[in-house]
Point group: C2
């Protein structure tokens, strides 16, 4: 087809989410989530990053690598609408779209060069571990920030969160540096949709642990922690 383009990863992101379950639904929901963008050697020249630390935020353009599908479905069911209401794919950030390209803003935490490989440390990434990254761009507040923009259903659910009960004996199993990010992720409600089944146990993988939990009303209770 005319104007087809081949795009290739410039980097891969390392995060604490080995699979999709639990990944926050939008970037910036869980600022405490640390990630590392590891560049391919051919894009790791230090000059390519000159000045990047003067920006506080970055855009990531990435592959929804776990959402490749043949064919085009014009509607999707956003989890934040309970999973039963259909909206147009172009009125959603769903990964199931004609070109499965994702867009997320993250905070830049630092730049490092390790054995000839550039690494950007970031916060707030809503990406699965090893997601291919096609581009990194600086966030330009005067053109990218529209605090008064109308966000439809996303506005309604912007403040939604769960209370998290995490028993001390289970929390102790988690390395201290990961605890805040994990509890913040849980409070963002990792369930596939607002399912109301207080008996159901969910299991989310995070940072090398399987975290079991139940949700009743607006309270999430951690029931098990297993090292993988």
């Amino acid at each position: 087809m005319d104007n087809e383009r081949i795009i290739s990863p410039i980097a891969y992101i390392r995060t604490d989410f080995p699979d999709k379950f639990g990944v926050p639904r939008q970037s910036g929901r869980v600022d405490s989530l640390a990630g590392e963008i590891v560049f391919l050697p051919e894009y790791s020249a230090p000059e390519a990053f000159r000045g990047i630390e003067e920006f506080s935020h970055l855009w990531l353009i990435f592959d929804f690598s776990l959402a490749h599908r043949e064919g085009f479905s014009p509607t999707v069911r956003p989890p934040r609408l309970g999973g039963n209401t259909r909206v147009g794919v172009f009125a959603s950030r769903s990964p199931f779209r004609p070109n499965s390209i994702g867009l997320s803003s993250v905070k830049l935490d630092g730049v490092e060069f390790r054995d000839g490989v550039a690494v950007l440390r970031v916060k707030g990434a809503d990406l699965v571990d090893n997601t291919p990254i096609y581009d990194v761009k600086p966030y330009i507040p005067y053109s990218d920030s529209h605090p008064d923009a109308l966000g439809s259903y996303s506005d309604i659910h912007a403040d939604y969160s769960l209370d998290v009960v995490f028993p001390d004996d289970l929390l102790d199993i988690i390395p201290e540096s990961k605890r805040r990010a994990l509890t913040d992720t849980l409070s963002d409600d990792p369930r596939p949709s607002y399912q109301e089944d207080a008996e159901r146990e969910y299991v989310m993988s995070f940072a090398g642990f399987d975290i079991g939990f139940r949700v009743k009303n607006k309270t999430l209770t951690v029931t098990s922690v297993k090292k993988l």
Copy 2:
């Protein structure tokens, strides 16, 4: 290479810029600029746009179609830094990047369906006419808007603009509906960089007219208007 992807246009944008010269350097600089995103018939199902009008802003992911280059240059010279200072490509929004993918936010002005083709009317697009569009996503203020983000050199130049002198006899040649967008574009300083040559005449094509102008200090004076 691993994880290469083929992406195909879902739409093309129609704007008043037949070529790169004059296109505002960031989206949203010139809100008055009207554009139309014309979808391919296979992506024009009305359901695909259900709910989109409840969002005020959209992201466009597009091809920098006039900036394809072989090879990777790690630094670029942003016009807003005078064209002589080099910054890393990942610290810039330059079109010359490993994957020549652009990102712009625009205001959504309306949705129409014409002979089976979906058309989104937008404002503030900094794109050349007929640019291929790979994705349209809603702008989600709670995750996309960071008004306090630090924008490095982009902050310094956010308020930069020229005074525009547009003689009445020349302005009268331009259709009234295009005048505001044209003068706003000129005040954004369309010169390739901050060249200081008061004698030089520049010519910018806009909405079917060639606009000649000179710039002295911070004043741009229109010297000719020719219908193409």
